[in-house]
Symmetry: C2
Subunit: 749 residues, 2 copies
């Protein structure tokens, strides 16, 4: 009987159709008997969840500013640790020591054509209880800005990403030696000063345009949820796509005694001074710009004509920081696995905030805590997880994933041995389930989503997500969305604590949260408060509970499943899509380049230009050569064959699968994501070893899949593109071999 | 020799490839010898044009307000007539008597939630010399608004077109009994109160959002060309798609003694009170609206969150008018044709304005006058046009094409006998050539455009137009634009004086003007002044001269060409496109309806709705049946065969074409556009007889091609659609028969 169960599990693992056959009853990785027990366990788990805990913990945790190095941040870590201890977890606080600059001087003032001094402050509001705690708040600033003191003409650069500078170039606008003003959005904020410095700018101001999260989107705080004219956005400007974590200790845990780079040598620090401002502060600066009217897509919602500059607005930007090393406190809490103690299911959410952080990160954190408390209750009532569960409340996420990165770097060897999966969350709100992560887990997550009920419509959160996907899809894709029994999960870029796990260590990861009906603009301002959250984001914590049910189920199933619920058909389908995308990207760029060159040589660009405006006709671009995608395509065929072979083998294996085989298969499954990495990392950024998912060098948050190939094409590095096609093809062959190993194990009886 | 020439002409007329063979030398409708003479004439014509005349006439004509019924309007008509007389034209002023309401009372005031009274005035500016002549200016109002006095809650309806009301319905917002506020744009302004009244609204306010022609687009007047916060847009709100011209005298010229409808029975008058306001006046009203946040596409550029309402903003709207009959003065000036006095080339531009009208219409008018003056000079030097040329300076265009419509209605029989073509213009500015009109003239106009030089780049205006078409085309169409030797001319909807000619009488028409680099927002405000025009629209009148060269050539060639330069292959190709479009429209609507119904029945729409917002799930729509397009497709095949046959026949005719045949062919050609009409007119609007081009019932400006079929489909009237397919197919067969008649004439020797 046991062996038959295991056979069934293995079928479930590899045979995509099996789910439908078994209809809603089955659980990937479980036989029927275990599935029944598991469902009973999950029901008990659900019944233990209490929204009052979320509320009271949020109230406590967001009562004072709790950024890294703060008194209250440390108290929060200790409070969280004490809670985990009280729930029966083996808990410790692990400390690292990281670079954390805080401002000594911040000045943004306009000298010409008129005087104006930016306030750089967010005023207290009577409707927001904590907003008046001004003494403890970190001021509005961008962490890891360079020290700087410059007075120069201003240039508006839209989102400040590479294509925006191409538009400026076409208008003959130089940014060398100038101060740029960029609006938030369109990229990770650290991209803005990076690209500005690459173009010779000497300072960077980042403002929140009301178009992006202010009055254009909805009523502003405190009337509504959106950013008011005085609300600013703090945030890190590390060059995170190069490496995450403490800028001074790449690759190693930032222990007190760790060898550190000198601050001047740390490559992820911004090269120029950067300060963020509100739109009340931005308005006079932007209004004073001359030069050409900004391109249509650049115009925000301020009541002005947007101009590019340069000048006549002349701005004095001064930023000086105290470059301190401060301790950060990761809370690590373990429940030891009964059957497979060395297979770790890791679950994390950060606890540090820029200020009060009710939504970011406390909404995710309190959901995770309630989930952990309920697990502790289950243990008290006799349940024991088969695998070890590790809960992590990270410090220093806001500055650049410091807590998670230093911990993964410090424990890299052990994690690569023992980690099965890392399940991340960050913030949570009202609306639709969002999941990103490893596509080997796509089918598994879809099952979890099928079993969680949406609190607004009493349907599964999977059905609700599917409805949104139908509405948001291009017409050509709607059929695919309807026809697919699984949800499509997105690929992970960066911006939260999954990055060191999946992209630096090759540990399968998921990122989970709800949102989409909770729009607003309190992000990284003092108004991300308990009062704000309870009025606008998730009043009554309904989605807090739904979230705990979702991530709790994810943990419980992964911890208990006799066979790990990884699945290859969805993964292989997804790799196939990525291969087609990068090949299509080259084709599209070839056509665009041909068309653009033709418009230049046939003078279309010149003749459509208004001669009263300065317009530079770009130089002809090198044509896009035909790249040799055959290695990737052949590797894909191999992967498809391996996946089909494995599916067939598990069908044929009958009742012959033994516990040893299962154990061996589980080892292959838990290490599978590692086969997608290369020790050498990506070209120019060795810290990022994953060859399928990485944050883009010029997007930061946004993912680049098959990044070595895709970015070489995007950056028009044809030689590198051809080389990386070979490299990535080998990686895909390596992972195919892992699938073959699993098949062979199943066949060999 | 003469016969050979005529043969050549006929080839040129019907054989599309011939132009390229003859390379740049040939002129459609001319043999080589005549072409040489014609080119010499055109060179002489060009050399006579003098930009100083444009400047001084504009200064004079726009020195005071000159709307219909005004003292200065009459003086302008007399001045224009005296000029034409002095240039040797047989000139008369033809008077009609039309309904022209002017405001006695205008009130827009908000009573709740706070008091605000709209100023409804445009202040004088020191930088604008005529803006201070406040005593003579027509106030800001919409002509043909109903009298009304209502106090109701306000609802924001975006552009106020039918699909905007569908959006409101989905949000559960009723407009019955409310006052709507719509922004200018998206349709002929008369559509806004029409659709509002159809939905039960009792009043309508129309404002100029800064997004559409204010600071979003560029610096505002007097710093730049765009609409300042106090600039308003006057304009007629007649239901012009029902019929144009005097509302009281449809189908007949509004002679003093004409039988008139009672004002209360005139169907084109607005059913509710309407007033236009500036964005300074709109801001407090829109800011005071509650209810749901407006859809993304509805949000303009005011610094507020746009809400739909209804209320709490409560508005008192009062408009009362003096409903007078006033005289209007059309200036009609003739040069009698030497060879074909009963073949008329008619050229027109209106002379009335809302206020000073330097751009609209004086910029077009002075170009036309200079063109006529140069023609007069040519006559003085011995040239005689083969055909009669009729210049018309229309009055009352702004109120609803009054002058042109009454004149065409008064002279309908004679025009249908004698009119070859009507060439219209309205305003002119800096930039690219825009041509709309009869597609039988597409090849002819392309030749004209090839022979006029752009003043900014010294290339042909055809090449410059083609460059813009390449840049503005969808990727899929770029190849077509490049591969075509002719420009594509647009189909005519309405909004200027071509409408009564082409759509009411079936006279081939063209509409010509330059623009695209002259953006601005003075339209129908007091700031459309001489000072404004000379700073922003066409400083130095370079494009005024180019415009006169273009329309002058058009007139000269049409007046002189031995064979009329109509051409059928481009026409047939265009009809083919329209047939494919209407069939495709039905297919697209079928797919959309299926998808929408599916989203309703599978609950996708419900599950993606935020339950805290009121959202109405629409009822299932009747599926779109398969319509029988075969009659249209068969008629198209007949048309294609006829066109090919005619091309072949003229190739084969050799030197056998006689002057009598040429004369007979010319008769067919000049009457050809009439074969595209039906005496019964379009369904529900008998005044519009053209079956290929009409203004849309719910667009006003925007054309609907094959309107009877297209609008039946759009309005989901399937039975009517099938019927109209038969009707329009018969029309296409009728025009094919005309082409066959021309072929037979050519063959019969």
């Amino acid at each position: 009987m046991k062996q038959f169960q295991i056979f069934l599990l293995t079928i479930l693992l590899l045979w995509p159709g099996s789910m439908q056959l078994l209809q809603g009853q089955s659980l990937l990785g479980f036989d029927d008997a275990h599935a029944g027990m598991q469902r009973a366990l999950e029901s008990r788990f659900d019944s233990l969840l209490n929204r009052e805990n979320l509320r009271s913990w949020m109230k406590r945790l967001s009562a004072h500013p709790h950024h890294i190095g703060s008194r209250y941040g440390k108290e929060n870590a200790e409070f969280i640790a004490s809670q985990f201890k009280s729930w029966g977890f083996e808990t410790e606080i692990e400390q690292f020591h990281v670079l954390f600059p805080t401002p000594k001087i911040r000045v943004v003032e306009m000298l010409e054509p008129e005087k104006f001094t930016a306030s750089l402050t967010e005023p207290p509001l009577p409707q927001d209880a904590t907003s008046g705690l001004t003494g403890e708040q970190l001021p509005l600033y961008n962490a890891y800005s360079a020290d700087g003191d410059v007075t120069e003409q201003l240039v508006y650069v839209n989102y400040g990403i590479p294509r925006d500078y191409e538009e400026l170039e076409r208008r003959g606008i130089e940014v060398t030696g100038k101060i740029v003003i960029a609006r938030y959005g369109g990229s990770w904020r650290g991209i803005k000063p990076k690209v500005a410095a690459e173009h010779g700018a000497v300072g960077c101001i980042i403002y929140s345009d009301p178009h992006d999260d202010g009055y254009y989107e909805g009523d502003v705080y405190p009337k509504g949820a959106y950013r008011s004219q005085d609300g600013g956005q703090r945030g890190s400007v590390l060059d995170m796509p190069l490496y995450a974590g403490d800028p001074l200790t790449p690759f190693v845990g930032a222990a007190k005694s760790a060898r550190r780079l000198a601050v001047k040598d740390a490559p992820t620090l911004a090269k120029i001074a950067v300060l963020p401002i509100s739109y009340a502060d931005a308005l006079p600066l932007l209004r004073a710009l001359g030069g050409p009217v900004a391109p249509d897509q650049w115009r925000g919602s301020l009541p002005i004509t947007y101009h590019c500059g340069p000048g006549p607005a002349t701005v004095h930007l001064k930023a000086q920081f105290s470059w301190d090393i401060v301790p950060i406190n990761d809370v690590i809490a373990r429940l030891k696995g009964e059957e497979f103690p060395d297979e770790w299911i890791i679950r994390g959410n950060h606890h540090d905030a820029w200020v009060f952080g009710a939504q970011d990160p406390v909404s995710g954190l309190v959901g995770m805590m309630e989930e952990a408390r309920a697990l502790g209750e289950l243990v008290k009532r006799g349940w024991k997880p088969a695998r070890t569960i590790v809960y992590c409340a990270w410090d220093g996420e806001e500055e650049g994933l410091l807590g998670s990165t230093e911990w993964t770097e410090a424990h890299a060897d052990e994690l690569q041995q023992k980690a099965v999966v890392y399940i991340n969350s960050d913030s949570n709100g009202r609306g639709f389930l969002n999941v990103g992560g490893s596509h080997t887990l796509e089918q598994f997550v879809s099952q979890v989503a099928r079993d969680v009920v949406d609190p607004e419509y009493q349907i599964s959160v999977a059905d609700r997500r599917r409805a949104v996907d139908i509405v948001n899809s291009a017409a050509a894709d709607v059929k695919d969305v309807r026809g697919r029994s699984e949800l499509r999960i997105s690929a992970l870029g960066s911006g939260s604590d999954y990055t060191p796990f999946i992209q630096h260590l090759g540990i399968a990861a998921l990122n989970i949260g709800y949102g989409g009906e909770d729009g607003g603009g309190s992000y990284h301002s003092i108004y991300d408060s308990f009062d704000y959250f309870n009025r606008f984001i998730d009043p009554g914590f309904s989605y807090g509970i739904t979230f705990a049910q979702t991530s709790g189920r994810t943990v419980l199933r992964l911890a208990n499943a006799p066979t790990l619920p990884f699945e290859f058909t969805k993964f292989t389908e997804t790799i196939g899509r990525y291969v087609r995308e990068v090949a299509g990207l080259a084709d599209d760029m070839r056509e665009e380049t041909e068309e653009m060159n033709r418009r230049i040589s046939e003078k279309t660009l010149q003749w459509t230009a208004d001669p009263t405006q300065r317009v530079m006709i770009p130089a002809l671009k090198e044509p896009v050569p035909f790249l040799d995608f055959s290695p990737l395509r052949n590797a894909l065929v191999t992967l498809q064959r391996s996946t089909e072979g494995a599916v067939q083998a598990t069908k044929n294996a009958g009742a012959l699968v033994t516990p040893d085989i299962r154990r061996a298969v589980n080892r292959i499954l838990m290490n599978f994501e590692r086969s997608l990495t290369r020790a050498e990392g990506l070209p120019g950024r060795p810290w990022y070893v994953h060859q399928v998912y990485a944050p883009g060098q010029y997007t930061g948050y946004g993912v680049k899949t098959l990044p070595a190939v895709r970015e070489a094409i995007e950056l028009r590095q044809w030689k590198s593109a051809n080389e990386q096609i070979m490299v990535v093809a080998k990686v895909i062959e390596k992972c195919s071999a892992e699938i073959d190993r699993a098949r062979t194990l199943t066949e060999k009886k």
